[in-house]
């Protein structure tokens, strides 16, 4: 399996970034994940992180190196992520449970199958055209809303989601696929921060024209610029299937042939309490070095 992948998350004008993304792969299968922790409920970022971790742990367990039943796996993994969040809420005695959206795409045997709950989206672009896109679980995107919307015209917020992970009611989700991928196909997962400020035409145009390593950061930049100071967090993870030059040295190139059977690679972080998507910044690097040198001095003094 060969693909090039790019992921990026930028904080908009919000106090914190509750979006999470990541991918993992074995020799024979790969999974790409994106979760957007919901505001208005506590600890959205924890819900998003838990969803990713739980999903990647399920993948790690099942993909040996392929998943036996893709659809069943996606459904089970989503449900266990949901239960993981509920368990966390109970353990922490949080009355209002943390919630998150989730979109995940599993690739194996040259086919992609995806699952989603909420309004984080998947775009599949082939030859510059939109081949598939998830339909959000919001009253705006789902036809069932017509009747409901009529009942309370005007006062009805069409952007409201009617499902997600972590809510006390069982999540609603959709599984699509398998879709056989062709060389050069691009698949992008994104949070509503991206599609909220860019329309499908713009998104598909960028993805169709450029390599994902270029299109993804450009799209994020555009979305942030367009939304201005009030921008939501913008997160994308995108991959291009079997790029001819997706050697490991190429930008973002991944070839799963380079890893052994039974081995699993992941960018999903294991700890969530203090990790998140923040990197070590310069100040922290300097502080770490100072701390280590201080410890060296103390130890040397003890020895002397």
């Amino acid at each position: 399996m060969k693909f090039s992948v790019f992921q990026l998350s930028r904080k908009g004008g919000r106090p914190k970034n509750e979006d999470r993304m990541g991918y993992c792969y074995t020799r024979g299968a790969g999974i790409f994940l994106l979760a957007d922790g919901m505001g208005g409920h506590p600890e959205g970022e924890v819900a998003a992180q838990l969803a990713l971790q739980s999903f990647s742990a399920s993948f790690q367990k099942e993909a040996q190196p392929e998943v036996a039943d893709v659809t069943a796996f996606l459904q089970t993994a989503l449900m266990s992520a949901h239960r993981q969040i509920l368990r966390y809420a109970i353990e922490q005695s949080i009355l209002d449970t943390p919630r998150t959206t989730l979109v995940a795409v599993l690739v194996q045997g040259g086919c992609a199958t995806w699952i989603h709950s909420g309004d984080s989206r998947l775009y599949l672009v082939r030859d510059g055209e939109l081949l598939a896109r998830t339909r959000d679980h919001s009253y705006m995107e789902q036809p069932v809303t017509e009747a409901t919307a009529k009942k309370a015209p005007g006062r009805f917020n069409r952007n409201i989601l009617f499902t997600c992970l972590g809510s006390p009611t069982k999540p609603v989700f959709d599984v699509t696929g398998p879709v056989a991928l062709r060389q050069g196909d691009k698949v992008m997962l994104c949070s509503d921060g991206l599609w909220g400020s860019l329309n499908d035409i713009e998104i598909v145009y960028e993805l169709g024209q450029k390599a994902v390593t270029q299109a993804a950061p450009d799209l994020v930049e555009k979305a942030l610029a367009k939304a201005g100071n009030s921008s939501d967090n913008v997160t994308v993870i995108a991959f291009e299937w079997e790029t001819p030059d997706a050697s490991e040295s190429a930008l973002g190139g991944v070839s799963t042939d380079s890893i052994n059977d039974g081995v699993f690679a992941s960018t999903v972080q294991a700890g969530w309490i203090d990790t998140g998507v923040d990197d070590l910044n310069d100040a922290e690097i300097e502080r770490s070095i100072a701390e280590i040198n201080e410890a060296i001095r103390r130890t040397a003094a003890r020895r002397g």
Binding site: Q7, E248, N260, F264, Q269, I289, I292, A295
Partner: protein, 335 residues
């Protein structure tokens, strides 16, 4: 990964007041140089330069990191700091010591004392080529591992595991001290930092739980590796890999061949350390030390005629297999 390795710094490069003499080793995490400090003392300088994430063209000082690999690069840096932080707290003759830590060329460097000597691995290979009944004398093995275990005990006291103990990481200095080196695989156990998850282990020396993906590791994991190192000192070759042992365990047979050559007690210690079930091993270095340093007369039980016949038959079978499949030597790291 099939890509060009980053170029090491050339001789005479000045970094943080140290002058590079030459590269002495390179691993997944970076490069180790022999260097001189301002007073002309030899030091080992380890440069953080993960070969899978960073590149450096010849003639350049600064490594280049592709933007999409930056966050992994910085996560790796955290582990490098963890290694420095832990080693900085440890002062023990059997554990490599850190003298300085600095930042330059947009990466970081760890300065350690430079050891003159050779790795235990080299000694084993030299000794086994002499084709004598014993690779090492029993008293040599006991005193060597007594020193190593003293160091390892301190490491475990700092809530740290080595996780890559093998003859290549046990250094014997020219003044006959044994020192544990290369803590690159070490992670602090209690604060499991998120990381790029790729199991790293050396076949033969890695305990079975290092292959399993979610099993809990502990001091017993390093103790398995210690047992495997002692085994290698007795046999001249590393033991079978743990997964192979789970299928068909030949360790007991291999050790039985050493009966009469090494004491029953030493053979039992190795079997104890290398138990496949983590709970059946010594649970702490202290427990192992106690057993290994037990005074008293050593018993040597020779094999009975029946046992010898059975072993010989076994040798015939396995020799045939060996000629088909070459025996693996001291393998490198599998990543």
């Amino acid at each position: 990964m099939s890509k060009v390795k980053p170029t090491p710094l050339p001789p005479d490069t000045m970094i943080g007041g140290y002058r590079v003499i030459r590269k002495v080793a390179a691993g997944g995490f970076g490069v180790v140089y022999l260097a001189l400090d301002s007073e002309g003392q030899k030091v080992a300088v380890k440069e953080y330069l993960p070969s899978s994430l960073a590149t450096r063209a010849p003639g350049e000082l600064r490594p280049q990191v592709a933007s999409e690999k930056l966050s992994l690069y910085r996560l790796g840096l955290k582990s490098f700091f963890e290694e420095g932080r832990s080693l900085a707290q440890i002062s023990h003759p059997s554990v490599v010591s850190v003298m300085n830590f600095f930042r330059e060329n947009e990466t970081v460097y760890m300065v350690m004392n430079y050891l003159e000597g050779a790795a235990l691995q080299d000694f084993i290979i030299t000794a086994r080529d002499l084709k004598q009944q014993k690779v090492f004398r029993e008293s040599t093995i006991r005193s060597l591992f007594d020193e190593i275990l003293r160091g390892l005990r301190i490491v475990h006291q700092h809530k740290m595991l080595h996780l890559d103990i093998k003859p290549a990481n046990i250094f014997i200095t020219d003044d006959n001290k044994s020192v544990l080196i290369d803590f690159g695989a070490a992670r602090e156990v209690l604060s499991k930092e998120g990381n790029f998850i790729r199991p790293m282990y050396t076949p033969g020396f890695a305990a079975p739980e290092m292959y399993r993906r979610d099993a809990s590791m502990g001091p017993w994991t390093d103790i398995y590796a210690i047992g495997a190192c002692i085994y290698a000192c007795m046999q001249g070759y590393p033991p079978n890999e743990a997964p192979q042992r789970l299928e068909k365990d030949r360790i007991a047979i291999a050790l039985a061949r050493l009966r009469g050559v090494y004491s029953d007690n030493l053979i039992e210690v190795v079997e104890w350390c290398m138990a496949l079930d983590p709970l059946s091993r010594p649970q702490s270095v202290f427990a192992l030390q106690k057993e290994l340093s037990r005074e008293g007369e050593r018993r040597y039980t020779k094999l009975s005629v029946g046992e010898k016949v059975r072993l010989q038959f076994d040798t015939m079978v396995s020799d045939t297999k060996k000629s088909v499949k070459n025996v693996t030597g001291f393998g490198g790291k599998t990543k």
